[in-house]
Amino acid sequence: MEISYYPGCTLKNYAKNFEESALYSLKKLGVEVEELPRWNCCGTVFSLATDDLIHHVAAIRNLIRAKESNSNKIMTLCAMCYNTLKRANERVKADPESLDKINQFMYRENIDYEGDVKVLHLLELLRDEIKLENLGKHVVKSLKNLKVANYYGCLLVRPKEIGLDDIENPTVLENIMTSLGADPIDFPYKTECCASYQTVDKPEIVADRTFHILTSAQEQGAEVVTVSCPLCAFNLDHRQKETVREYPEFKNIPILYFTQLMAIALGCPEEVLRLDLNFIDPKPILKEKGLI
């Protein structure tokens, strides 16, 4: 498999725990991915204005970088990167005229983009290429008795044209957790928006959403919540500080990247998890379950 790994802006700092646990897991599963030697920020959001081509340039440039590395697949961990790269890719594939304009704009690139790179998220790689049966075979420490609510948020599943699973009821994370031996918990807020970038200047909105999303997971018995987006992670994890301030009855719950749980099941040493970057300490529950 020739797969390029595209990290994006936050995987090298706030979400280092996401990156390290994901790369460890892929190595354990025998899948080779190589980080693009050069990459730029994708812009984080897909431009919704029909007349705005310039904001697709950043995304398409990364697809050129993948081609330059002789790969025809680019994998992301971040849900926002996935959405932005994939939508820009679909947009130019469906509209040769705009692809042409974007290529002309990037006249200093050595090659043109031709719509021939596939954008995929780690979740798709696990489900469709590695396959969950194989994932299960590599488990050395089962996550048994750990009740996990899985939060998808918006951009892995919407819009439908690029979503990686059912738009209203995705199940890929639950299926992965089952393969790792955990007890996945279903809850009605798994695709509810966490309020995203409102966190910068309206953190109270995020605190409110976090309260509703996490309380719903707790009511269903969740002991931890998994995420696969660094912005969802920040909002659901770090913003619990503001949530407690607004809702004193709220009880903190650890938020983990799904890859951190996967790395535990695949036998990683504790350093790989970078639990120092998780805001609500997951150590007590992981210790209680004999997982660290």
Binding site: C78, S196, Q198, T199, F234
Partner: protein
């Protein structure tokens, strides 16, 4: 609230601009309200998503350009996913924001945030809020 509707407003170039930037046919909306029913942000909005579409049809430019809602919407695409008429409401709201942003009327004053506020959120948050709320 008193709202004046006039032929002049309905024919204002604002309506065609919103349609053009969003790529949506506003008149396709039959006001079922499903977009607002599923929107996670309505408790903080002054004009609900279905009302935004209605206001846009009627060319109620001032009401829309001054609404709080256009900056509360986080483009989560739940409304788009559920509209029985296939209207992309999030794109319509983006178009209204764009009309202001293209006149350099930024919503987020990044220079007013303290260093602490800026360094306490991840880069993904800063970049996405600047992309959505600044010109």
């Amino acid at each position: 609230m008193r709202i004046n509707i006039s032929r002049k407003k309905i024919r204002d170039s604002f309506v065609s601009k919103v349609e053009e930037i969003s790529g949506q046919n506003l008149l396709a909306c039959y006001q079922c309200g499903k977009c607002s029913a599923g929107c996670p942000a309505i408790s903080d909005m002054d004009i609900l998503p279905n009302q935004i579409i209605r206001y846009a049809q009627l060319g109620l430019k001032d009401e829309l350009l001054h609404s709080k809602s256009i900056w509360i919407c986080a483009s989560c695409f739940t409304c788009n996913a559920r509209c029985p008429k296939g209207i992309n409401i999030a794109e319509v709201i983006e178009a209204i924001r764009q009309i202001l942003l293209r006149k350099r009327e930024d919503h987020l004053k990044i220079e007013k945030l303290s260093d602490e506020e800026k360094s306490n959120v991840p880069p993904i948050a800063i970049i996405s809020s600047m992309r959505k709320f600044t010109s």
